[in-house]
Subunit: 226 residues, 2 copies
């Protein structure tokens, strides 16, 4: 049996996951991009994810409605104010969404099984990130083990599911340089937790990491800030 | 800090998960029951789950829409015929839904974190079951490990999440006897994969296990069959 080259790539419309799409394509995978509508307060990122899917000519782009707002517990889904970067501490921030990456990867796992794909890509990153527990390598490894016990193909031994995290050890500026070398147009991506009319706030934790990344990469930032 | 006695119980409206609600209540937990609308072809089980939540006077019953039909791959969500029990083999059946329990437990994990609950109950059972990989103890154990790496409370060490599987080693007849002793009205539950106008088919794998369970328990089966 020929090895399947289908890959699921989790796509948020942001800088990291868009770079991951470019990397997966560059590795020769047929990309199936997957985005989630999770009651986030802005839809800009879902529109960005759709534009990026078109730009990269992916096999299929799926947006799944998962109503995390029903469960609550985060500044990104509830009506808690998003903090500025300078008020961010070492603690896990209020923008943390409970179980988000676990839920995202679970859906990716379901789609991977249907597509007979053994590769799921996720743009987690342990260098310039916001301190979310479900971005850490030990979480990813543990999810991968669980996934191979959960699925028909895993149990039958026909597919050994891999969670690919190509950005894991890269700084934001390295990610940007890699993406630019692969033709990513970062003007199409959005990172801001709190955009207004399509413009990034330039003040939240995510904007801060992005601005610093472009500065350190010595690449012009195409982002439109307020 | 007082130990929280909130528990999430996954509830399908079926025999097993309803027994689990009764067990969790009997153990002294405040029960939050969680059901999923996953594009299944019948809604009877969601109605049953609601009735059961009322019957047991749970703290809150949540139904979350998760559109697994978009992903496909199962006789329970697609338009594949559900097989009769006598055509069931040792292989993983077509009624298997990719990643279902992983997705269900992921949502339960999110809710547990918001409620500061350390207990998630699921009615998996390794004796009289249909051969799904995500019902096995090794899967559950692996999910539990992953969950404790994924969550803010797990990482901070304030909560050690436990996936409770009280039915794990019980036969269907033992489950029924336990439930009856705790006051479960199995007439409110539905197990059939393929009901017609609220009546169970009596022929699918799930009906077969149920009929046999009542027979072996020597308890009258309140189920209405076609």
């Amino acid at each position: 049996m020929e090895v399947s080259k289908n890959a699921i790539v989790l796509s948020s419309g942001g800088l990291d996951s868009t770079t991951v799409i470019a990397i997966a394509k560059d590795m020769g995978f047929k990309v199936y991009s997957l985005s989630f509508d999770y009651g986030q307060r802005h839809k800009y990122e879902l529109n960005a994810a759709r534009d990026i899917a078109k730009f990269f000519n992916v096999e299929k782009h799926l947006v799944i409605d998962i109503n995390l707002r029903k469960i609550g517990g985060s500044a990104l889904t509830d009506d808690i104010d998003v903090p500025d970067a300078d008020s961010v501490t070492d603690e896990i921030p209020v923008t943390y969404v409970p179980a988000r990456n676990t839920i995202f990867l679970s859906y990716a796992m379901a789609w991977a099984e249907v597509l007979k794909s053994s590769d799921i890509f996720i743009g987690v990153n342990a260098v310039d990130y916001s301190g979310y527990p479900d971005c850490r390598p030990e979480f990813i490894k543990s999810f991968e083990m669980m996934a191979n016990l959960a699925t028909k193909t895993g149990v039958e031994g026909t597919t050994n599911l891999k969670i690919q995290t190509p950005l894991q050890d890269m700084s934001k500026s390295e990610i940007i340089k890699k993406g630019v070398s692969l033709g990513v147009d970062y003007g199409k991506t959005i990172s801001c937790y709190n955009p207004t009319a399509g413009l990034s706030c330039g003040k939240c934790d995510s904007c801060y990491l992005r601005v610093e990344g472009f500065r350190k990469a010595n690449i012009e930032d195409p982002t439109k800030y307020l």
